[in-house]
């Protein structure tokens, strides 16, 4: 509650799903489960690749257009990284259950639909990725994502990565960017007005949050400086801890 | 709207003039529709149900159909006529209460019919509710029993059902409360009641559904009256079945 931006994750905690993860960031908590590859219904079947089904379920109430929109963004993003051609005519099912949102706390208890769907998108993306990893789903690459809020103050635009709810709502423009491990831009969703110069700055800042600096050796894993709080390091550390836990019997 | 049952304590007669342990008029007919494998018409008071049974027949070859290799599957369809109640109402398919009743009837008969004799087949019971005045589940179960007998599906014993209530609400005049047998629609609205179905002459309870709040001490009396009512129902159904059997043997109505 106090340190809202700190991320935390638990892997493989649901026993019936093939893979699962709980991920909290920025006051949002999402539980994700992945099942697959499983049998697909005839109408959804694709002849040369796996169909990906993403289901986003809100903490309270039934999903509406906002959830459907988020599902379509997630679906097209995950299609790019999962090796779907390895599993033709199957289904990979990703279920994401939102359990905690900061909106609830501010409004007391009333169901308030967030003004924008972007706030929760990085958390959903990251949960989906961790759940896919937990399910040992073959991926071409992993990605990390960040939410950036831009405030205009005269000529200067200040950027905040992973803003609080207040920061998010007062922003002139908000952006969600996802990068692959190699630093390639995978997803960019923006809302609000901003200039092209702002965009360059946003891109640069998002890159620095998501992808480790050039010097860091992403292959070795050992050499990563623990002080640097980028998302890639976080994902790596979470997985390392999980693997170490699973192989604690192995000397 | 609360109903005035205060007169009960004066004459010990219920709204429709019955005493506590009396059933409503129960009429039953068997083999009412010639085209169906088995059929029946049953009315308990003003609750009237037509039942037809199809099967045992082959499972429709749909992908993912719930056919089971080792035994027959019982499936139940209930349709409530729009004119059955006081107010004309259209009931959609998604009614969870009806769905629950369908599941109840299906699982009750799944355990009583010799389904293992008919692997890879299905027995469909369709119930049409024509008039509605309490004891709905009980009437449906009784009608299904008759129709299944008519269809010639082997079963362990009759499933007979009835409802039992209690004159007390959950707190007031606990000592003086009487159990009641076979509640009608207006009594069901006001009093705690349960639906009980027994299998055979022993006190073997197959279905027991209660949706209202009642003290645990009341339950024994209600259950005892209900089980006793089921025996009465069984005798009535037995007479109908035997009469039908006799007619067939005489060759008068084959």
């Amino acid at each position: 509650m106090t340190n809202a931006t700190a991320s935390s994750a638990i892997l493989s905690h649901l026993h019936r799903a093939d893979g699962s993860a709980t991920f909290s960031q920025n006051g949002y908590t999402v539980i994700g489960a992945v099942n697959g590859p499983i049998e697909v219904q005839r109408r959804d079947e694709l002849p040369v690749e796996a169909a990906i089904d993403v289901i986003v379920r809100p903490a309270a109430g039934v999903g509406g257009t906002r959830e459907r929109h988020l599902e379509s963004i997630l679906q097209s993003t995950l299609r790019q990284i999962i090796l779907i051609h390895n599993f033709p005519r199957t289904l990979i099912q990703v279920t994401l259950q939102i359990t905690n949102t900061p909106e609830d706390k501010v409004a007391g208890s009333k169901i308030v639909q967030a003004s924008s769907h972007l706030a929760i998108l990085p958390t959903l993306l990251q949960t989906a990725l961790l759940a896919l990893l937990s399910a040992s789903m073959p991926l071409s690459v992993i990605f990390t994502s960040v939410l950036i809020a831009a405030h205009k103050d005269g000529a200067i635009t200040s950027l905040t990565p992973n803003p609080s709810l207040v920061g998010f709502e007062s922003a002139d423009s908000v952006h969600v960017l996802a990068f692959t491990l190699e630093g390639k831009l995978l997803l960019a969703e923006s809302q609000g007005t901003f200039t092209l110069d702002d965009w360059d700055n946003i891109l640069e800042m998002a890159g620095s949050v998501c992808v480790p600096k050039d010097g860091a050796d992403i292959e070795g894993g050992v050499r990563i400086e623990e002080t640097k709080e980028d998302m890639t390091t976080f994902v790596k550390c979470t997985l390392e801890a999980k693997v170490a836990q699973d192989l604690h019997w192995y000397t | 709207m609360p109903l005035d049952t205060s007169t009960y304590s004066l004459a010990l007669l219920r709204l429709d003039g019955r005493r506590w342990n009396e059933l409503r008029r129960l009429t039953a007919q068997i083999s009412t529709q010639a085209s169906a494998d088995g059929s029946s018409f049953l009315s308990m008071g003003n609750t009237k149900v037509i039942c037809t049974v199809t099967g045992p027949s082959e499972v429709k070859a749909a992908p993912g159909a719930s056919g089971r290799g080792d035994e027959a599957v019982v499936s139940v369809e209930i349709s409530v006529a729009g004119f059955s109640g006081v107010e004309r109402k259209r009931r959609g398919k998604g009614d969870k209460r009806i769905y629950e009743m369908q599941t109840t009837i299906a699982t009750a008969f799944q355990a009583t019919l010799f389904t293992h004799l008919y692997p890879r087949s299905t027995i469909t019971i369709s119930l049409h509710i024509l008039s509605l005045d309490g004891s709905l589940l009980a009437t449906c179960l009784n009608a299904s029993t008759l129709a299944l007998i008519d269809a010639g599906v082997p079963m362990r014993d009759y499933i007979c059902a009835t409802t039992a209530g209690s004159t007390s609400s959950y707190s007031s005049n606990d000592e003086k409360a009487d159990p009641l047998l076979d509640l009608n629609g207006s009594e069901e609205l006001e009093l705690p009641f349960l639906t009980v179905a027994t299998c055979g002459t022993e006190d073997e309870v197959s279905v027991l559904v209660m949706e209202t709040r009642v003290q645990v001490g009341r339950l024994e009396g209600m259950l005892a009256v209900g089980v006793d009512g089921c025996k009465q129902v069984r005798d009535i159904l037995d007479v109908v079945v035997r009469a039908r059997g006799k007619r067939i043997l005489e060759g008068s109505q084959l």
Partner: protein, 299 residues
């Protein structure tokens, strides 16, 4: 959609053999519940119940709406329970399965029809404004006995929940935020919990019925009958659902009701203990403590 896998013949036989020797596969006694764990979320009205490997997340929300025209003095209370593919890939979204419908019906009968929540207390202006309380039951992991666990989850969440305070002046209602006024708890009249029994008869010796409590998923798949009894700790039975299945002796059934009463008393004690612990944890240096200190200084 693929169908749920049925237990294999080996599993079945192993289970039956064990049952004949008065053993359950996980080593529990026949009338023993699995380990019950109840966690509360950061927000009010959020609970996470774990019963063995079954895990259920419940979320209570409240909003102001108009009451139904035929019930102008009653607020709204809805319970929604949907089994997502997270629980098991055999559940299809937007097409309710039998498990799901029966779960929601049982919760509805136990909690709503029995009047656990006083809906009249939710009325703000008769016929115009009332609170609508909504309980979302999310099943995260299904290892049997969803009904009992969901019931504990919803009731604990209802007790944990606080709705914002309101004041009514004539026709206008003011809803105060958490910072302005301390939110108020819901008015609950009684606490009915569910206890589910599973029956096995043909698997064991003739004429004998084995009764298990808190069945796991495997035990649920193999059972021949079940009964769910909703009862509160004062011995008021709110709901009984023995929906078909293997016939059971009437006297034995009354015994089950007595067992249910004992179990419900245990569950009630556990839930109130956890609620007390939670209240203590929240009380310390929470927002409420801050507010009361401010008031002292002003006066």
């Amino acid at each position: 959609m693929p169908r749920e896998v049925e237990p294999s013949l080996n599993e079945k036989q192993f289970f039956v053999k064990a049952l004949e020797e008065n053993l359950r596969i996980d080593g529990r006694a026949f009338d023993q519940y699995r380990e019950l764990d109840l966690e509360f979320g950061d927000e009010l009205g959020v609970t996470d119940v774990r019963l063995g490997k079954t895990r259920i997340h419940t979320h209570i929300t409240a909003e102001v709406t108009t009451p139904f025209p035929d019930r102008p003095f009653d607020g709204l209370f809805t319970i929604t329970s949907e089994l997502s593919p997270m629980t098991s890939p055999f559940f299809e979204p937007n097409r309710p399965s039998t498990t799901e419908i029966l779960l929601s019906r049982l919760l509805e009968k136990t909690l709503r029809r029995s009047g656990a929540l006083d809906t009249e207390s939710l009325c703000l202006i008769a016929g115009q404004k009332c609170w609508s309380i909504r309980a979302d039951v999310h099943v995260l992991s299904h290892d049997g006995n969803l009904v009992d666990a969901a019931c504990i989850g919803v009731l604990a969440a209802l007790q944990h929940f606080r709705k914002p305070d309101t004041s009514t002046e004539g026709e206008s209602v003011t809803v105060y935020t958490l910072a302005e006024r301390e939110p108020v708890p819901l008015s609950l009249l009684h606490f009915p919990y569910c206890v589910t029994f599973s029956y096995y008869s043909s698997t064991v010796e003739e004429g004998e019925t084995v009764t298990l409590l808190d069945a796991t998923l495997l035990e649920e798949q193999l059972r021949e009958g079940s009964a769910t009894i909703g009862i509160n700790r004062h011995g008021e039975v709110c709901q009984i659902a023995k929906l078909g299945g293997v016939p059971l002796d009437a006297v034995a059934f009354l015994g089950c009701v007595q067992i249910a009463l004992v179990k419900v008393k245990e569950i009630s004690v556990f839930v109130s203990k956890r609620l007390e612990e939670e209240a203590k944890k929240r009380d310390k240096g929470g927002l409420m403590a801050e507010l009361s200190a401010e008031n002292d200084r002003v006066s």
